[in-house]
């Protein structure tokens, strides 16, 4: 057996028994050795069945099962001799066709409903497959980017620094850990959690004073909404600010309002 096929370019360039084929034969009569080549071009048993139906002008809604089965099995038998693996899907269909054919031979009850036609399921599958097959061809005909459509892709010089740097909570924790670690060797500072909210309030009070220059002591507290702990923290923040010399606390005389301002001295 000598069959050499080359297909480095689209189209057919087949040598079978030394004879060169550049085109498929008009009919499906095929030299036996090359049969599988043609069967490969069918996308499975449904495709082959559709081909036979079309080829022999059979009515899909009233398929002559004997005729179709004979045609089909004829091809499958030829194929079987060569390529068992390929035949597996096709064999299953052979069995199904024979089963449908034999069911049709059985005497039917007098009132036969069309739904009971043993061919109904096969017809449904064939119709559905053909619809897909046709629409697949249409899809293939649509213009495709890269093949039929060229999209704009001109150049621009990318610059990098626009995106803001990202910081996660973890990064910050890690950085603080490092500071604490190093602080244990270097620092004189007292570093403690308890002070955090006090420190936060210190910043807030400084901001308010910066904006308003001078504020009445009680205006720094939101007595109605802040809970007791927050009020205490706020008060501690004011004391700390005063202790650090960041704010000045003044009062004209006893029982008059207390004022805070940033220490400008």
């Amino acid at each position: 057996m000598q069959s050499i096929l080359t297909n480095d370019k689209p189209g057919i360039d087949a040598r079978i028994h030394g004879e060169r084929y550049t085109e498929l034969p008009r009919d499906l009569y095929i030299p036996p050795d090359a049969l599988e080549v043609y069967l490969e071009t069918f996308e499975g048993p449904l495709d082959l069945l559709l081909y036979l139906i079309r080829k022999h002008n059979l009515d899909i809604l009233d398929i002559p099962m004997a005729e179709l089965t004979r045609q089909y099995i004829g091809y499958v038998e030829k194929m079987q001799a060569i390529n068992l693996e390929l035949a597996a899907d096709y064999l299953l269909m052979s069995a199904m066709l024979i089963e449908i054919k034999s069911r049709m031979l059985l005497p039917r009850p007098t009132e036969v409903e069309s739904e009971d036609d043993p061919r109904a399921e096969l017809v449904r599958r064939l119709m559905e497959y053909e619809a897909i097959k046709l629409v697949a061809q249409k899809l293939d005909e649509l213009p495709q980017v890269g093949l039929d459509l060229m999209v704009a892709n001109a150049y621009f010089e990318k610059i990098v620094h626009v995106q803001a740097t990202q910081v996660s909570m973890e990064d910050l924790m890690l950085a603080w850990q490092n500071v604490l670690k190093r602080a244990s060797h270097f620092a004189h500072h007292k570093v403690g959690m308890a002070e955090l909210s006090v420190r936060e309030h210190m910043s807030q009070i400084l901001r308010k004073l910066k904006a308003q220059n001078m504020m009445e002591f009680s205006a720094l507290f939101d007595i109605e909404t802040d809970g007791i702990p927050k009020l205490i923290v706020c008060f501690l923040a004011i004391l700390e600010l005063a202790r650090e010399g960041l704010v000045k606390i003044t009062q004209q005389s006893a029982f008059t309002p207390v004022y805070l301002k940033i220490n400008q001295s």
């Binding site: 057996m1 689209p10 189209g11 996308e43 619809a131 697949a136 980017v145 999209v151």
Partner: protein, 209 residues
């Protein structure tokens, strides 16, 4: 550059669209400007830009809206010229791949089992991989049956690449109609798929020697 008028905003849009290799969504384009812009304003600018390009004679590029956004593309008539630049263009898919794709597109979401039942043959895993690598299909879930098979659907890239805005723009699926028999054209076009089989034949030949 001051963004004091729509002309300048259009120029920024134009430059962004001409330099982006992928379609830009409205959200993408809103990010171009520092000030807040209404989506309606943006749509209006895009329409104007589209018309500006249409008004040029002769036209080289057109602004189109596809599934994932807007893009400039060369007029299809120019493709024959432009493709001379890149002789090694992507291949068309095999008929098997196109049928698989059609089933996924028209029947989505589907499992491999669904595809096999419809086509009557086993699905080549390479076909699925090929379509996934192209970013034309992806897994959108699992069907709640034993084995939990993956459910496949088409992507926005698939629509973009076929120049479609939505699945509704796909060619209509026709039901079975009596057609005059024509010699199967795909027989020839699908020839390359024979390759694998040729190997088999060759092996047979060599073992016979």
């Amino acid at each position: 550059m001051e963004l004091n008028n729509t002309t300048q905003m259009k120029m920024i849009l134009e430059a962004a669209l001409l330099t982006s290799p992928i379609p830009l969504s409205l959200d993408d384009m809103l990010r171009l400007f520092s000030e807040r812009i209404e989506r309606a304003t943006l749509r209006m600018l895009l329409d104007e830009l589209k018309q500006d390009w249409q008004a040029r004679t002769p036209i080289s590029m057109e602004l189109v809206e596809v599934a994932s956004g807007w893009r400039f593309q060369a007029l299809p008539e120019l493709t024959p010229y432009l493709s001379r630049l890149n002789p090694d263009r992507p291949h068309r898919y095999s008929r098997a791949a196109m049928e698989t794709l059609a089933i996924i597109a028209y029947r989505q979401p589907v499992t491999r089992g669904d595809i096999e039942e419809l086509r009557g043959v086993a699905v080549n895993p390479n076909t699925m991989r090929q379509l996934q690598e192209r970013d034309w299909i992806d897994v959108v879930g699992q069907r709640d049956v034993p084995g939990r098979p993956s459910l496949y659907a088409t992507t926005k890239t698939f629509l973009d690449d076929l120049n479609l805005k939505s699945l509704a723009d796909l060619p209509a699926m026709e039901t079975f109609i009596e057609q005059p028999f024509v010699e199967e054209k795909p027989l020839v076009e699908e020839w390359p798929e024979v390759t694998a089989h040729v190997d088999f034949l060759d092996n047979g030949a060599s073992s016979a020697n």
